[in-house]
């Protein structure tokens, strides 16, 4: 009788501690995702802060390319003003493309490329782009981990009981990326 009792007690204890373990893991994953999201935001901010600097540096050299510069400024303003997430993503994509065309144009101005200030700003922009990519990667990885682990058996019991929900991935709506490559024979 006592033996059965002890065995039962041990089993209950094991299940309890397993449940606590799973619950804690899920909570920390959820927090990681929140943290990842704020990281993306921080890095986007950093990018917005850098752009006036870039424009200021390039202005002196790119006198004949005022439309390109204006586009960059406009795109930045749009990105800063965007509030909803789809708007944000769209604005950031637009900003990326305008930045790309600015750097493409600056290829034709060797003095600009050689200017110490420009080299510095360029490095900062490159770094920021990488940071945004890494922040997004981290966010998506954590989302992936959460989504997988709440669906796995037997974790799904805990997840359902405490209402852990699947998180959404951060997609870039870039048609070039989304398009399935066509293979012709």
């Amino acid at each position: 009788m006592t033996l059965t009792f002890v065995v039962l007690l041990v089993l209950v204890a094991i299940v309890f501690f397993w449940g606590v373990g799973v619950y804690n893991t899920l909570v920390s994953l959820r927090e990681n995702i929140k943290n990842g999201w704020s990281q993306i935001d921080v890095q986007l901010h950093r990018r917005h802060d850098l752009i006036p600097n870039l424009v200021e540096t390039a202005k002196g050299y790119l006198k004949h390319e005022s439309t390109t510069l204006e586009n960059v400024i406009k795109a930045r303003q749009m990105a800063v003003d965007a509030s909803s997430i789809p708007d944000k993503i769209q604005a950031e994509n637009f900003l990326t493309s305008t930045l790309r065309s600015l750097f493409a144009v600056s290829e034709n101005y060797p003095e600009l490329k050689a200017s110490q200030q420009m080299i510095k700003v360029h490095e900062e922009i490159t770094s920021t782009e990488n940071r945004i990519a890494f922040a997004r990667q981290y966010y998506n990885d954590e989302v992936n981990r959460l989504n997988t682990s709440i669906q796995l058996f037997p974790n799904n019991f805990i997840a359902n009981t405490f209402r852990f929900e699947k998180a959404a991935f951060f997609h870039i709506d870039n048609p070039d990326v989304a398009k399935v490559p066509q293979v012709k024979f």
Partner: protein, 581 residues
Amino acid sequence: MAYSFTQIEKDKSRVIAAAFCFLVFLYFIGFWIISLLITNFYFFGKYFDESTTAFAKVTFQPLGWITSFKIFSFALVLAIVQWFFTTFQLVDRLIYHFKAMDPDPADSTQQMFKNIVEEVSVATGGSHIRPMIIPSMMLNACALSDGKSIPVIAVTKGLLYKLNRSQIEAVVGHEAAHILSKDGEHTAIISSMFEIFGSSLRAMWTTVQGISDDSSHNVRIGYPRRSINWGGSINSRQGVYVIFFIIIVVIVIWVINILAALMRMFISRQREFRADAVAVRLTRNPLALAEALHIISHRRHSLYEGQDSLQSLMIVSPTTPRFFTETGLGAELFTTHPPTEERIKILLNMSFSSNELLDQALNNVTAKEEEELKERQKILAKAHGGLWYVNTPNNTWVGPHNISAFTAFDWLTADTLVKKMGENTTIPISQIKDYMDEYRNLLKQHPTFSCPACGSKLNEITYEKNPILQCSKCQGLLIQENIVSVILERREKTFDNRIRQMAQALIIESKNLPQIGLSSLESDRMYRCDLCQNNPRKMRKRIFNRYYPVEIDKCMNCGLVWFDKDELEVMQCMYEMRNLT
């Protein structure tokens, strides 16, 4: 099937955890076995000397539960105390050891490195990592963490200037992986546990040496040999038993130590594989890491700056001979790092690439980089006012030179005329703002130097793109220590036959050289360091290091190095020859 990085990470983590548990077990069981031996000291003596009654009645005493528990607690407390002392300001001490410094905000490459570390830290989810630079031209990197202070990723200057952005990022990713998986902390725990065995072995060894020294000393000068008197009541045969017993204990400790060392190296190798995998998870660029490892491993024969006890911290082992880094038994058992070839193979497999493609890519990159560098130099020269001719006191024109080179002419005054290349108008040099700025900076930086050998004036010249001081008479060179390695890295200079022969001879000599340190050589000359006039420490004659046995004079205070004529060239030539073979 290609092995994915998450899979590798998982597998290696499991293996490492198992090995770690084994080591912890070994530690406690080692204590237990030694205690068991000591409590049964008299029991084993029985077999050694049956005649004595003192030993005859003793029975074997197993250790009870309570005694075992006491032993385990003691071992645990000991390990914790040891751990506390080992990790006390560990990061700070290591930073001091490597002479690591914070990135220089004025140096764009170092600033880029700082950015890269921040990027990778974003990829880890925002952990705090402190970037630092090791002033050495070796190609290496390390992660320092002790679980208390902010972890540090330090790379050598050589690595920064040799690798491109994505390669540096891969290396930083590898180091960040070590920090993420807390490898440093675990190493500290393990080494503080087994430190007690190691140090007791060393202590016994020194005691044995002391006794033997003592006795031979006594014999030599004619005193009666001191007999070892163990409490007075034990006869000589029992005395022998005591020594025998000690030897047994030593052997047990030694075996534990060896086992632990092999296990630690095994863990260390597995960790490298895992860190590679995590680096790929962080940066998603296995090819860049493969390239970085390839470049680093092919350039390890550069300046060896002896930090062997810390080698498990580095990305590639700095001391292991090349033989061990290729596959083989040695590589499997006695190294802290797995064969680089194998690591590269795994990474190439991940990126669906091959060795040939890697070589091709690396060659292309170097060619492209050189082109870019040339292009940039051209543009920079233009932006800085181009090349100039300068009017000497004899009214001849010399040049063309860059503005910065003008500071080397000691006869230059503010009224000296210069003219731009391709133009005929002459202007006094004081009107060129760039030059005046440079000149003022120079005055600020250097007090006036005179040649330590012959006392004549030293001129600043640009040698392999670095500003150094040269004696106008004896052609000796005065260089800051940290610039020497930068100069060795440059490839612009070609050497004549005489220098080549001297370098060849020194390379052979350095192979036959005994293991001497960097001790001063006997010398009657002792130069004065102008920078440290107030300091009594003079420049000492010594060899650069035992891989480069070139004679130099070095100020022990500020690190200024004096090369006699040709000595630096010989060293550069040696460096180049070593890296070609």
